[in-house]
């Protein structure tokens, strides 16, 4: 393989693929990125055996072929090359080495054969649809924070994406929960999506899609089976295994009898929560909401450092109520709300609370209270 290309294009693509490669690997080939030159382009591919990212970029190919190189080393080298440099990669000869030249720099890198590089064995992807990048971004951004990291309940380590009929319309819905909070958002299901299987997209794939979608202004093609999913995001293709598990029946968790309506101005509410929680301890991040007729008092009491309170004027005319929440969780949710006023539907200090935009947009959040 002999190929020459611009540093900037190579760096951008390596930036996309090298993140997939784990820093520490017991299998040497998994530390490597696959490079394959053909026609007028160079293909880069990296995998961690659960997730695979592939990108094709224009290059001047003098000789086709492929090899694999340590992904992070290659990325670091290219990153440190001067702006506007040309990079040539040459794996000529059977030396097991690749020579990278740029300007007056020359690197000889240990390579491993292309044939050793693992394949995800994607198999047949039975369902296909496409959606606007903005829609996919919305589904991910608004739910991603609620994904669980707890390994015992592995089926919560991702976003549950599925379709269902709501008031006669097919909707594509994303749900994530860690048991303490739940996020649910939906869009009108794109054509072809209605019969897709319900799948759990793992958090690492979610994070990568989230980065790759940044600034993208195109349709994203989605191909999936019950075990794998592929996103085509511009020049990058991301293929991931899906979590093999059953997502819990989340509909049971969404309270529909909460009749105490609290309407707050979102930004001032979030800012006040943030302020009073400054003095909370790392361990108990509880903020107490005391609500009486038109007035909300936020308070934090930390025996080690002191206390804080702040009052807000709110729209509330139900029975007075004291309820506690994790301040971080409240902020995570308010950050995802779109409109200026937020609606909290409360029941009692021990029951889950519902949060959403006042105008009842497509996103809905459930939050477990804390004891205060």
């Amino acid at each position: 393989m002999k190929v020459t290309l611009e540093r900037a294009t190579l760096l951008k693509s390596l930036g996309h693929v090298h993140r997939v490669v784990e820093r520490r690997n017991t299998i040497p080939i998994l530390s490597n990125v696959l490079l394959h030159a053909q026609g007028r382009s160079l293909m880069l591919k990296a995998t961690d055996l659960d997730l695979e990212v592939l990108e094709t970029l224009p290059a001047d190919v003098q000789q086709g072929g492929g090899t694999t190189l340590p992904a992070h080393v290659l990325y670091d080298i290219v990153r440190k090359l001067p702006d506007g440099a040309q990079v040539s990669l040459d794996s000529a000869g059977d030396t097991g080495q690749l020579v990278l030249r740029s300007g007056r720099s020359r690197f000889a890198l240990q390579s491993l054969p292309e044939s050793d590089f693992p394949d995800l064995n994607v198999g047949d992807l039975s369902h296909h649809f496409s959606l606007a990048a903005g829609d996919l971004k919305k589904l991910i951004d608004k739910t991603q924070f609620a994904i669980s990291t707890e390994e015992t309940r592995y089926y919560l380590n991702g976003i549950y994406i599925h379709t269902l009929e709501v008031e006669g319309r097919a909707m594509l819905r994303a749900v994530a929960t860690d048991g303490h909070r739940l996020a649910r958002v939906e869009i009108v299901a794109p054509a072809g999506a209605a019969d897709m299987p319900g799948v759990i997209l793992p958090r690492k794939a979610v994070a990568e899609v989230q980065k790759l979608i940044e600034g993208l202004d195109k349709e994203v093609a989605v191909d999936m089976s019950t075990t794998k999913v592929r996103f085509t995001l511009g020049d990058v293709t991301l293929t991931s295994k899906l979590i093999d598990g059953t997502f819990p029946d989340y509909a049971r968790v969404i309270p529909n009898g909460n009749d105490k309506r609290l309407v707050v101005e979102r930004d001032s509410f979030a800012a006040a929560v943030d302020r009073v929680s400054t003095i909370s301890s790392e361990r108990g991040r509880a903020v107490k909401l005391s609500i009486v007729d038109g007035k909300l008092t936020l308070s934090v009491n930390n025996p080690d450092s002191g206390s804080a309170t702040e009052e807000l004027e709110v729209d509330y005319d139900a029975q007075p109520l004291d309820i506690g929440f994790n301040a971080r969780y409240l902020l995570d949710i308010t950050e995802q709300l779109d409109s200026d006023t937020a609606l909290l539907k409360l029941a009692d200090p021990g029951s889950p609370t519902l949060l959403q935009d006042r105008d009842g947009s497509a996103a809905l959040y459930v939050l477990m209270p804390m004891r205060v």
Binding site: T149, E150, E151, T152, R153, L156, T177, G179, H180, R181, L182, P248, Y250, V253, P352, V366, M368, R371
Partner: protein, 430 residues
């Protein structure tokens, strides 16, 4: 012959004036006298039970009284405690059993009964707490006591009080203790070791430096073999070597530790006796009779340990959010794996789920000699196992364990046992 007033430790007679000249107590004839110029000015004590386990066993079985007794056991056990008779043959704590029996073949070996020792330890502790609320237990059989300001309450100085206390322990509990009295913890602990058993030693402020001078640096707490070797390579072997040095110089060489050494070498120890030693975690571990590599066997033993941890959590009304699993290989390499950030739990099922996950990842065919499990990041019990939005099993697990606990309370620990404990090795249990 001391010329100052003294206290007879047997009859608590205060001898003064001409009586002092007599070799024995004029009241009871005992030679065990306690005298020290600073006797009534000191209030930090260290109380240490003498050969605790062995003494308890001798108390309960008088036929053992004049025989060398070793508490310990198991095929590859070590000596937990050796009685004073056995010690004259060179038997020491932590010595491998086969070595101990080579040194003293006629020794009677008694397997330890930890439950009994814990009960006796609690009785001793209760008597300590009658003297002062400031009791800081170091282990089952030793504690620091701060008796400052108790003179008016008890109508006696700490020294007299402690002499009474040690007599009471002998009469009421039937074991003996050794007492060290000083003005700080460091010296009180050293003092209790001076004339064991049934000892009572006093180290006052005036003699602290001179007393320490000829002791090896190893007597300082926290200076083990490694630190000792490091100090020795710098020419520091005795505490007098430290006393000769400049504090600034020691700090330059050893950092904050240097300052600590400098101070302790002069008998300066500002640590307080604190009763409220918060429980940071609860753990249980076991060493196997023979090394084990088999995952199923390890898992089974792990379950039993999780039950023990859970039981102690429930008894102490605590729960925890972090689980640590620990293995020791046959080469004594220690391996610990932990998981934090769990929802507060006190359930065997939850602790076991986390611990098993850690175990499964860790085992690779290596032979292990020990397994342990612990829970940390403790919280009050009322925060435990309250479930969350999607927790579908916690209520059932909680009810199951509550039922099992009730059965065990009524019919004993073995009344109901998890099937997992039997494993697939059915024949053994037929």
């Amino acid at each position: 012959m001391p010329s100052t007033a003294y206290l007879c430790r047997d009859c608590l007679h205060e001898a003064a004036g001409e009586e002092v000249a007599a070799a024995r107590c004029p009241a009871c004839g005992s030679p065990r006298r306690l005298s020290h110029p600073e006797r009534d000015a000191l209030s930090i004590a260290h109380v240490d039970c003498d050969a605790f386990y062995a003494t308890v066993e001798k108390r309960d079985n008088p036929s053992l009284r004049d025989q060398p007794v070793i508490i310990g056991g198991g095929r590859r056990g070590v000596v937990a405690t050796a009685c004073y008779i056995a010690r004259t043959y060179g038997v020491k704590s932590a010595m491998p059993m086969f070595k101990a029996l080579k040194a003293c073949p006629q020794a009677v070996v008694v397997p330890p009964d930890m439950g009994k020792y814990a009960r006796v330890g609690r009785q001793v502790r209760a008597l300590m707490l009658e003297l002062t609320p400031l009791v800081e237990p170091l282990s089952i059989d030793e504690a620091f006591l701060d008796l400052a300001g108790t003179r008016r309450l008890h109508g006696a100085s700490p020294a007299v009080l402690l002499a009474r206390f040690s007599r009471r322990i002998e009469e009421e509990i039937g074991i003996t203790v050794s007492i060290g009295l000083s003005y700080c913890k460091f010296l009180a602990k050293l003092a209790s070791d001076l004339d064991k058993p049934r000892g009572f030693s006093i180290i006052g402020r005036a003699e602290a430096s001179a007393f320490l001078a000829d002791k090896p640096v190893g007597v300082i707490w926290g200076i083990g073999n490694v630190a000792q070797a490091r100090l020795a390579s710098d020419g520091i072997r005795l505490i007098s070597d430290l006393q000769r040095m400049d504090e600034a110089d020691l700090i330059r060489r050893y950092g904050p530790e240097g300052s600590r050494l400098w101070r302790l070498a002069r008998g300066l120890d500002a640590r307080r006796v604190s009763a409220a030693r918060e429980t940071k975690g609860i753990s249980a571990e076991t060493t196997f009779e023979a090394d084990i590599a088999d995952a199923e066997t390890l898992t089974r033993i792990l379950y039993g340990l999780c039950e023990r941890v859970s039981r102690r959590l429930k008894n102490q009304e605590l729960s925890g959010c972090g689980v640590t699993m620990k293995l020791k290989t046959s080469e004594f390499r220690l391996l610990t794996r932990s998981r934090s950030g769990l929802a507060p739990t006190q359930l065997t099922a939850r602790i076991f789920a986390a611990a098993r996950e850690l175990l499964t990842k860790a085992i690779d065919g290596t032979h292990y000699r020990l397994i342990g499990v612990g829970i940390s990041d403790l919280r009050p019990a009322d925060e435990a196992d309250r479930g969350d939005l999607v927790d579908e099993t916690v209520a059932r697990e909680k009810a199951t364990e509550a039922a099992v606990d009730r059965l065990r309370e009524r019919y004993g620990q073995d009344a109901i046992v998890s099937g997992l404990v039997f494993g697939s090795d059915r024949d053994r249990h037929r």
